[in-house]
Symmetry: C3
Subunit: 355 residues, 3 copies
């Protein structure tokens, strides 16, 4: 675990006042952070989300445990501090954010002397531009933005207030990021989409002249790539969360609050609805439409549009290799197997007819 910085404790009662819920226990308990049931010490909070962790709960040394009312009976009354709330996991997220913000020193505002900033760029004085960052012409950077070391922000890019680019992010020219966006290291926003016309055997490049437009509160994982549009824009809705190594093709539209897990890919001109959940390594083909509230399982190829909300799956179930090999042989001739079943059915019908 990260060594705790020395910092002032917070009264538990003060926290409950801030975030709501009911405290069973001493509001004067001093709290320094939040940890798992196993790891929490007497100056930390913890949380429980499922009944089956009862044993851990009983042994937990935390100052208090975030818990939903339905689970309070897991403990003899009065045993320990409890913070009762409708959704302990959500409360955990908020309390953890509270402590993380205190632990993390705010980046120093201002431009590092080694950064290379074009004279025409507008950078809010509260923003922080890190070592060797490159900021192009006509870039506009909002209040409290952090640009990490070695990030490269192309000309004409706008970055909304409170956004954070970790080190080594590239934004190609003319893209637009909303407020409170977070881009992790290695992200590339606005590279050319994969578009060519054929001239005999040769590929003739179609200039990719659109942009990437990213909404507010979007987080994008390490080494994820989002291509600029060919003619129009690639658009990522507000509140979208993408994991690492996701690939988004040109002119894709991703609806608000959709989450996309690691290694997933969305091919050009696909439209993903709002509140969708795309599993790891899932692949959405180009020009498709996915309705709102569609979920796709890990490793699934989606080759048709989906109008109906729900969970869709398509991966080959794994097995011991020998078993898989036997089954795979049959898969290669399933068509024939079905025909044989049909033939049997016909034969039996005839047989019955003749009986």
């Amino acid at each position: 675990m990260v060594p705790d910085l020395v910092q002032d404790a917070v009264d538990l009662g003060e926290l409950v006042g801030l975030f709501g819920g009911e405290l069973i226990g001493d509001p004067k308990t001093a709290v320094l952070g939040i940890a798992s049931l196993e790891e929490a010490g007497p100056q930390q909070l913890s949380f429980i989300t499922q009944r089956r962790y009862r044993a851990r709960l009983l042994e937990c040394r935390a100052a208090a445990v975030l818990i939903q009312r339905e689970l309070v009976d897991l403990l003899p009354p009065g045993t320990r501090g409890l913070w009762v709330t409708a959704d302990p996991y959500l409360l955990f997220a908020r309390v953890a954010q509270f402590f993380a913000a205190r632990a993390r020193p705010a980046p120093t505002p201002g431009v590092h002397p080694s950064a290379l900033v074009d004279a025409s760029a507008q950078i809010d004085p509260s923003a922080s531009v890190g070592p060797a960052a490159v900021i192009g012409a006509r870039v506009c950077i909002g209040a409290n933005v952090t640009i990490g070391a070695h990030s490269v922000v192309g000309e004409g890019v706008t970055i909304g207030a409170g956004s954070c680019l970790y080190p080594r992010v590239t934004i190609y020219p003319d893209c637009a990021l909303g407020a409170r966006t977070v881009l992790h290291s290695g992200v590339v926003v606005g590279a050319d989409g994969f578009g060519y016309a054929r001239d005999g055997f040769e590929w003739v490049k179609i200039p990719q002249t659109g942009r990437v437009v990213i909404g507010d509160d979007v987080e994008i994982g390490a080494n994820t790539t989002i291509d600029r549009g060919a003619l129009g824009d690639t658009v990522i809705g507000a509140g979208v969360k993408m994991d690492n190594q996701v690939q988004i093709g040109h002119n894709v539209r991703v609806g608000a609050h959709t989450a996309i897990a690691g290694c997933a890919g969305v091919a050009g001109s696909a439209t993903i609805g709002a509140r969708c959940m795309i599993g790891g390594a899932a692949m959405i083909l180009g020009h498709l439409e996915l309705a709102d509230d569609v979920s796709i399982s890990v490793g699934t190829v989606i080759s048709h549009s989906i109008q109906k909300p729900g969970l869709y799956t398509g991966f080959f179930p794994s097995a011991e290799n020998a078993a898989w090999e036997k089954n795979a042989v049959v898969v290669r001739h399933l068509d024939t197997l079905r025909d044989r079943v049909r033939a049997l059915e016909r034969q039996l019908r005839k047989g019955q007819g003749s009986t």
Copy 2:
């Protein structure tokens, strides 16, 4: 859309003279660019490739529309400017390139003062080396090459004329890039291939002493990785186009004009023919050979060599999760199902025999 820079318009007739085809309309029309049927304004061109976009064509405000002769009947004669050509999509690509080149200011030749260039490197005076780029010993950079900010070019690398490295590209030592290659941000060329010998449980590294050799007119998408050869070289043929996040193993050979879509992977020592098309997230196993003109569908694992041109596919068709689960259960015992069908067939044959 990217805000248009102020620039001189071009006469439509001049363009037709440049690129060929037949103009139906006023050659004196001033044109500033090209856009989609929906978005084109009266000083822009547009293009139509399929009959089903007729409604958009009728409403299109473009100065003229690139169209094939077979579609001219979609419009009443004399309605609007038409630029008749055999392949409107290809012409669109060329005309768009024409305008993109005008819109994009050529990078200033010369080495940025913050770049770190080894004294033994040879850089053509027309080349542009961006901020904080690192150019190693004995590097040779041709005419009109652009090296983006923060790119790192290892010792002994050669880069052919007219090539462009976007910001944050790494070329490991001794690799060779042809003319007019384009490498997008985050590309890594020449990292070590994945090669180890076993010594009991330990992996003993096999030094990767080959190079990556990339032909002319190759474009490589963001965060794609191409490993150097173990003993010989990894070779990417002329005109190859790779999308983002492609992975090419050591000693792979990719034939000329092959296109590889995003997230695809080619394992070590595989040989891909010319003019192949590899779909997104497809995986080609090591040491295989794919003939020329082979296409692989999205998400397909290729585990055997392919001698015959054509399209090959292998992904599990997706379905609603409940349906998939039912089918997946059967897949796990397909071998048995086939045996049951066989038993039925035998039984019926016997039955008939006995009748």
Copy 3:
């Protein structure tokens, strides 16, 4: 091939003394390196691992060939130099390392003037910090470490002796790397894991406060990403080897000497045993456990824990597209097909009963 630097030859007998095995031939032969059977010249060694390469062996011009005793009969006695050893491939690895170390000049110790090193960082004087590298507060860098150009090492990171970060690597704060680790260009260690709680439609970020802890002798391929833990740590065991573009989620544990091929992904909180082999583009779901000595084939999704060592596979076998389409149609209704077989079986049983 990389042009050989001029260097002193080594006596073959000296090499055999160093690495063991039996020499059949002249120990005074001068040797400059090692190459494949086809490419080796008279001052190079080569190696043969399989009987089927006999023709190449007969034509090989190498000074001597590494060979196992069982294959010596491939040659007429006394034909050429042979270096007999139990495992020629392993010996090849060691001899190649020997020559690679000689060919590669050791990086100059010291901090490049353009590097940005926090005053509180401790850097061993034998370490080499490359151009424009950024070293944060309280970083601790061991003996003979190489930090490549443009790498960014976050505050509080420790890097063990003999490690090498190639150019453009990011280590987020507080992560710990063992001795002799090798991280290739574009690697991101310690970015936030993908963890959110839901609040209605919105995702509320769970601060990722754990670390990444990497053991000794780990090698990590280009553009691979390893996320930091949410509350606890992500742990990569000693001797683990990862290829390019691998994705490791938060709180994953990978056992010692496990190898993970390119484009594979391991979702959050999964535990992979020791000495496992994970194939390219394989996906391991979150919270699973894989025992020691489990191997996973390319493109396989693992959705259940695996207790038993062995090879597990699950990808759809590829075929010509038309054949695949026919089979895929049946896959979509396999459940029904099985029911039809059941019906036939019932019918026949009844038929027999009635007969």
